[in-house]
């Protein structure tokens, strides 16, 4: 056992008879037993009476928000990525109630840290209301009739979540060996220290003995998990590759004769290749020396409903990427018609290419009915429509689109000849 000091000489800032002081002293003693450098320890405290202990510790100290200390500590543990450092969380039953997800998540992932829950069965700093740890029958100033619900068994919860070391102790006397075991366990450990608040708990429940209370609540005082759990390793990729690689580069090879921007909206159904078709349409424009943009529109449900895309191809730089009134509108399905009806009605010129199975919406555009779906099937209808439109609108050489298509894996699934029916 080392003689390194973990606590200052100043009196601990707690009410007389409060178990929090014993938690602090036992923490210091356990760390001495483990012969750790105080500055290899990071104490993370929650909000609550226990949280004002920071100034008494000679370790690193971090004091955050109510209920979030376990998540903050998890970030520190993951950021340190060094099991030689000890990350210790002090929280109350109130903070544990607020941040229960962080405890479960921390145990699940196995962050290298120890959570010490100061369970005095109520929120002490804010007047003594019950927490979700308050046992059945326990009275508090705001619940004088006593709780009608059983409190959480945090130890059982932590075992279920995957914690490596879990123990419940009665917060009386010397329990530093329990802390020492928890601090030296790999992965996520938790010790629940049972206390009774001298200001609110004792007054509301006169004559009640802590050990009897714990026993009546059905909470076992024992070790629940033995410390042989997995420990979270932070993924570190020291040589990640640049996102701007030569593979992305597009080489202009063809030429387009268009003189001004053309906006093309393609509207169809999710799962029918609308976004890919639009991307090919835009990329092939680049291969033809044009600038291009592609903006997608779809509902959040990825696999159903409409899928639409707006493409602009232009010999000039494109600033505004919207196209409220398309020059060319392609509608390949009933979902697509529903979404594009408004755009069709805004068109006073231009062309509407629409699958011939669909009703023609109100529009000022010239209408071309084409059996897209019948000729190539629903799944390839958008891709076919794009080939068809590039050819008939003379946007750029169809060969440019063929090149882009054939350089993609999709070419293995669709016979290019079926897309060249003009």
């Amino acid at each position: 056992m080392s003689s390194l000091r973990f606590l200052t000489d100043a009196q601990l800032p707690f009410c007389k008879g409060c178990g929090h002081a014993l938690v602090a002293q036992n923490t210091g003693k356990a760390l001495q037993k483990l012969n750790i450098n105080p500055l290899d320890v990071v104490l993370v405290t929650d909000i609550g009476c226990h949280g004002i202990v920071d100034k008494s510790f000679l370790t690193h100290t971090v004091h955050g928000l109510h209920g979030r200390s376990s998540a903050l500590a998890a970030g520190i543990a993951a950021g340190l990525n060094n099991p030689g450092k000890k990350v210790i969380v002090f929280t109350g039953d109130g903070g544990a109630t607020i941040g229960m997800q962080h405890l479960i998540g921390g145990a699940h992932l196995g962050f290298d840290m120890t959570v010490v829950v100061h369970n005095n069965m109520l929120y002490g700093m804010t007047g003594g209301q019950p927490s979700e740890f308050t046992p059945c029958g326990f009275k508090t100033p705001t619940l004088p009739e006593g709780s009608t619900k059983a409190g959480y068994d945090i130890c059982e919860l932590m075992v279920a979540a995957g914690a490596s070391y879990v123990e419940r102790v009665i917060g009386i006397g010397d329990f530093s060996d329990s802390f020492a075991k928890a601090f030296s366990a790999s992965g996520f450990s938790l010790v629940e220290v049972m206390e009774i608040c001298p200001s609110y708990g004792v007054k509301s429940n006169p004559g009640m003995k802590l050990s009897k209370l714990v026993e009546d609540a059905g909470w076992n005082v024992r070790v629940f998990a033995d410390g042989k759990g997995p420990s979270f390793k932070t993924p570190v990729n020291l040589e990640p590759k640049s996102l701007l690689s030569e593979k992305l580069e597009v080489q202009p090879k063809y030429a387009s004769s268009i003189q001004k921007p053309v906006s093309i909206m393609i509207s169809g159904s999710a799962g029918e290749g609308v976004q890919s078709a639009a991307e090919f349409l835009a990329k092939a424009a680049m291969v033809s020396g044009l600038n291009s943009t592609k903006k997608g529109s779809y509902p959040v449900t990825v696999g159903v409903g409409f899928s639409a895309s707006e493409v602009i191809v232009s010999p000039n730089p494109i600033l505004y990427t919207g196209s409220p009134i398309p020059d060319v509108l392609i509608i390949t399905s009933s979902d697509g018609l529903g979404y594009a009806r408004a755009a069709a009605s805004r068109m006073k010129a231009g062309v509407l290419y629409i699958d011939d199975s669909l009703d023609v919406p109100e529009t000022g555009a010239r209408v071309e009915k084409v059996p897209f779906r019948e000729r190539v099937g629903a799944k390839n209808s958008a891709m076919y429509a794009v080939f068809y439109v590039v050819f008939h609108e003379k946007l750029y050489p169809v060969d440019a689109l063929k090149d882009v298509f054939l350089s993609n894996k999709i070419a293995e699934k669709i016979n290019i000849e079926t897309l060249l029916q003009f």
Partner: protein
């Protein structure tokens, strides 16, 4: 024709943002892939040295803060529903003086709204993030060059000022694909956190005239580090309302304002003889640039201010606006959030807005408003 271009590609803004963040010195991405920030999350899995998937946005900001305490520079990307959950923790990180970047990809609200529709609805949310009206340096992206340069600026500012920084953008900037030649982008140099190297005990919140305290991570064991979100003295010890502690709290705002000139970024395109100014930011910038080009082609005189540093509001924006009889502020929201920040509820004669939701504001709408009183 593109023959002369070297690195022509069909890419989205998310790719440029992610690459720039890492090059500038960010090393950790933590996040939940909320729509429409998903692509940033996806690229982060490939590009960041460390990437952690968090279960939610409160956890995200807490993990990020933990990483920052350990000496890392973390980034996340979210949208309003996630940002709302982060708010308490952003205040914590600002009070703790932790560097980090939060990319806020705006989508149509209120509440969950329409996740796949863009917007410029969150400037007021960011403005009001901190209790007490403290400022979070906030940048907004107007085009692909900004995806690159402002992302780097956001990281550098977060590191330099030891503060969370918000990078505001919108669905159409991070998800739309555009032809772009990245050989035109400038080099980005990484910035390091300035560490304390003295021999006397380290005071985590003691600052020199820069008002920015030196940093030490909890990974070192030479000096004790105390970090706290509660009102604290220079030692990092919780204090009620002691003058030293209150001075420290005031310093947070003074720090951000003292260096504002160093991170004030805007494009000002003034036309001589014009008495009309368009002010815009974010996703409405490109439509505004197009509108200005069209107006000038028709012989109409008009100037343009694209605001890129949004918060704290640089005083120079007000000075520029004061030179113009007519000011048209273009933003994709219902109530004119930048307009109110610049001119208040009372407004000013000659100031009007082009606003709208659920679709990008078009150059035509801007031109109509500029010419409305002619």
């Amino acid at each position: 024709m593109h023959e002369s271009k070297k690195n022509l590609a069909f890419i989205d803004g998310s790719r440029l943002i992610t690459e720039a963040l890492v090059r500038a010195g960010a090393d950790t991405f933590v996040g939940y892939p909320i729509t429409p920030a998903n692509l940033l999350y996806l690229y982060a899995t490939k590009r960041f040295p460390t990437m952690l998937a968090a279960p939610d946005e409160i956890t995200t900001l807490q993990w990020m803060s933990g990483f920052a305490v350990a000496g890392h520079v973390p980034v996340t990307a979210t949208s309003f529903p996630g940002y709302a959950l982060m708010v308490e923790s952003i205040g914590m990180a600002a009070m703790m003086e932790l560097p980090m970047v939060i990319i806020l990809v705006q989508r149509l609200g209120p509440a969950t709204g329409t996740a796949t529709c863009g917007a410029q609805g969150d400037l007021n949310v960011v403005f009001g993030t901190m209790s007490g009206g403290y400022s979070i340096p906030t940048f907004s992206i107007s085009n692909y060059h900004d995806c690159w340069e402002l992302s780097a600026k956001a990281v550098h500012t977060a590191i330099q000022l030891r503060t969370p920084v918000v990078l505001l953008t919108s669905k159409e900037m991070v998800m739309t694909l555009q032809s772009f030649d990245w050989s035109t982008l400038p080099e980005i140099k990484p910035k390091q956190v300035k560490l304390y190297n003295g021999s006397s005990p380290y005071l985590p919140y003691k600052a020199d005239e820069s008002l920015i305290p030196d940093f030490l991570p909890v990974s070192q064991n030479q000096h004790q580090v105390r970090i706290t979100a509660s009102t604290h003295d220079t030692k990092g010890i919780l204090q009620n309302v002691l003058p030293e502690a209150i001075d420290n709290t005031k310093r947070l705002e003074l720090k951000v304002r003292k260096h504002l000139d160093e991170y004030t970024v805007f494009d000002l395109d003034e036309q001589e003889g014009s008495d009309r100014l368009i002010i815009t930011y974010d996703i409405s910038s490109q439509a505004s640039r197009e509108a200005v080009a069209s107006l000038r082609a028709k012989g109409e005189k008009v100037s343009l201010l694209v605001a890129k540093t949004l918060l704290p509001i640089p005083r120079v924006y007000v000075e520029i606006a004061s030179r113009y009889k007519r000011v048209v502020i273009v933003e994709e929201n219902l109530t004119g959030q930048l307009r109110q920040l610049l001119f208040g509820v009372a407004g000013r004669n000659g100031v009007s807005g082009v606003n709208g939701i659920a679709k990008m504001i078009s150059p035509t709408e801007i031109i109509e408003e500029v010419l409305r009183h002619e």
